[in-house]
Symmetry: C2
Subunit: 349 residues, 2 copies
């Protein structure tokens, strides 16, 4: 480490996650020597302020990564596929926030509170999991460690910001039109580029990302496959239903789990969650205390409430898990991985 | 039956469900001789148009039910508790849309497509189930009949109209304020009369109705207990998580079920749903076809989509169930019960 810090590139700096990436670097006072803001050709030329200095966004090319030590990618899977290896070739370690390499057996998929040690195995690329997966495994890890975990069934309540800035704008404009008694033709959600679009304002769409041949969406399969990889247990049964909802920030999840041990109490589950890193227990129903998307927005933690025992299965528990999808679900987790690379001297292989 | 029809009272005629009750009576051309619109003292005096005739709403008292044959109650549990037996005493049969008598062993709890024959056992009162229960059991009944049913885990996505007209107004006003960058103090949701209120606009609230001692909400316990009663199987394992969301009409439900028979295909489940009364299969993910709250609003059916097999449990299936909570979830089902009373000569005991 130089005393001044590291040369850092942020790829996709003008996007919804890129913006949070810069906020997080600033908030965590990340040791930066040179900062390079990169984007598609279309967004190049924009100016962005970071710690009082104005940076001009440049088009990301293979040569952009000369002399970069850490590259944070969040510009879509195709950009990562085209440029991540180019960055690695030039000596950078890439933290990639797309689905491009997540299931690649040579690429660690990391939530630092869950499997930080996997970062040590990297070959230049570390993948940041899907937003809805990150918050769930952060909440499940302390349960797995203490009581074992055999089954997860999750139904999600996901914010539009997970679909990017255009989806955020669509919800805002559509909501306004609806309240004025007008209709605005849907153009983005559920999935930009798909044939059918449906209104999101005052609605719920049971489709996030494209459908796979097995009838599940890609988002659902990400939750299923990534959970097993991050938790190092291909035997955990995971089922997911992912739903897009009309709010801007934070994903919420109704999670049913079955643990291995019998006779575990709600208080024991609450206790391990309370003591877990990065997880905050907000669970006092007598006083109507539980997390909501609005209460979690802007905070880096994963919030858990509504912990209760299944009434039929003595090993079953229900949880309500909420986190800011752009922070812990994306930017915050990526920067945590970068910090771990530095702290553990894992940048050089 | 007189040739002119029946003397019908609608109790709670000025409420959100009462309004749909009148719309449904009109739409179904229900055989009415005299129509009596009743309400609390506060709403008495309002005028309501029905089939071109203006009716003045009167305060509901025991004497209001003299000469009434069918009384449709939807004015809250306390009104039903105070007046339903008074109506029965005077010869009326009550169809009650509150939770007052649902779990009373002497009161049939009925979704006509599921257990119409239970109406015959009435002692003057028939209970209309909770809105979120009705649509779920309508979708599950054909599955239970054909394949057996041992386990249900549901997470709901519920519209604000289930919490009444004030909640609808709150969502509308709060959404408008939010879009203007203002904040509006929450006063109604999640539960009118509770200590804490939270914003519903662009948010999700994991509380519907008050919390019980076991950590579940009353809404969740309604789904659990009512399902077993309606489906005549106290052994079915039912778990529920109920969430209020920022849309006006229709509840959606992510439902996981385990059937008794093995080797059942998705196509077989789709087929029995397609052939069930009152249930419409909208399930073609290749063309992004699935129901949403907006697409179901204003329609009397229960819509089912996203049918898929669990990837770990060969007897497990996932469904997405959507219906208009004020129609099939309340008014439509109540009027169906009243029609069945007439059709089957079950009015007189």
């Amino acid at each position: 480490m130089t005393t001044q810090g590291y040369n850092v590139a942020v790829v996709g700096a003008t996007g919804a996650v890129g913006e949070k990436m810069l906020e997080t670097l600033e908030k965590k006072n990340f040791p930066i020597n040179e900062l390079h803001l990169l984007s598609s050709k279309r967004s190049a030329g924009k100016e962005i302020n970071f710690k009082g200095v104005t940076y001009t966004v440049k088009e990301a090319t293979p040569e952009s990564f000369e002399n970069i030590q850490i590259a944070l990618f969040s510009a879509g899977g195709s950009v990562s596929k085209a440029l991540a290896h180019e960055a690695v070739k030039r000596g950078a370690v890439v933290v990639d926030n797309t689905s491009a390499f997540r299931m690649d057996p040579d690429v660690p998929l990391v939530v630092p509170e869950v499997n930080e040690e996997d970062i040590a195995e990297h070959n230049g690329i570390i993948a940041n999991p899907n937003c809805s997966t990150i918050q769930m495994v952060a909440a499940l890890k302390p349960i797995q460690d203490q009581f074992g975990l055999s089954r997860v069934i999750v139904s999600t309540y996901q914010a539009v910001s997970g679909a990017g800035t255009k989806a955020v704008n669509e919800l805002e404009a559509q909501s306004q039109a609806f309240l004025e008694g007008k209709e605005l033709e849907p153009e983005i959600l559920p999935v930009s580029g798909e044939k059918q679009h449906y209104p999101i304002a005052f609605n719920a769409l049971p489709q996030i990302d494209v459908f796979q041949e097995n009838g599940y969406t890609f988002e659902e399969m990400k939750m299923i496959n990534e959970t097993k990889k991050i938790m190092h247990d291909s035997e955990i049964k995971v089922a997911a239903t992912c739903v897009r909802l009309p709010f801007f920030t934070s994903h919420a999840e109704s999670v049913y789990v079955e643990v291995d041990k019998d006779n575990i109490s709600v208080e024991q589950v609450q206790e391990v969650i309370k003591n877990a890193d990065g997880v905050v227990l907000e669970d006092d129903v007598t006083n109507q205390v539980y997390p909501t998307p609005l209460s979690a927005a802007g905070k880096p933690d994963v919030f858990v409430g509504r912990v209760r025992k299944d009434l039929d299965n003595s090993k079953g528990f229900h949880l309500w898990v909420v986190s800011d999808n752009l922070l812990k679900g994306a930017a915050w987790n990526s920067v945590q991985i970068a910090e771990s690379l530095i702290k553990n001297n894992w940048l050089q292989k």
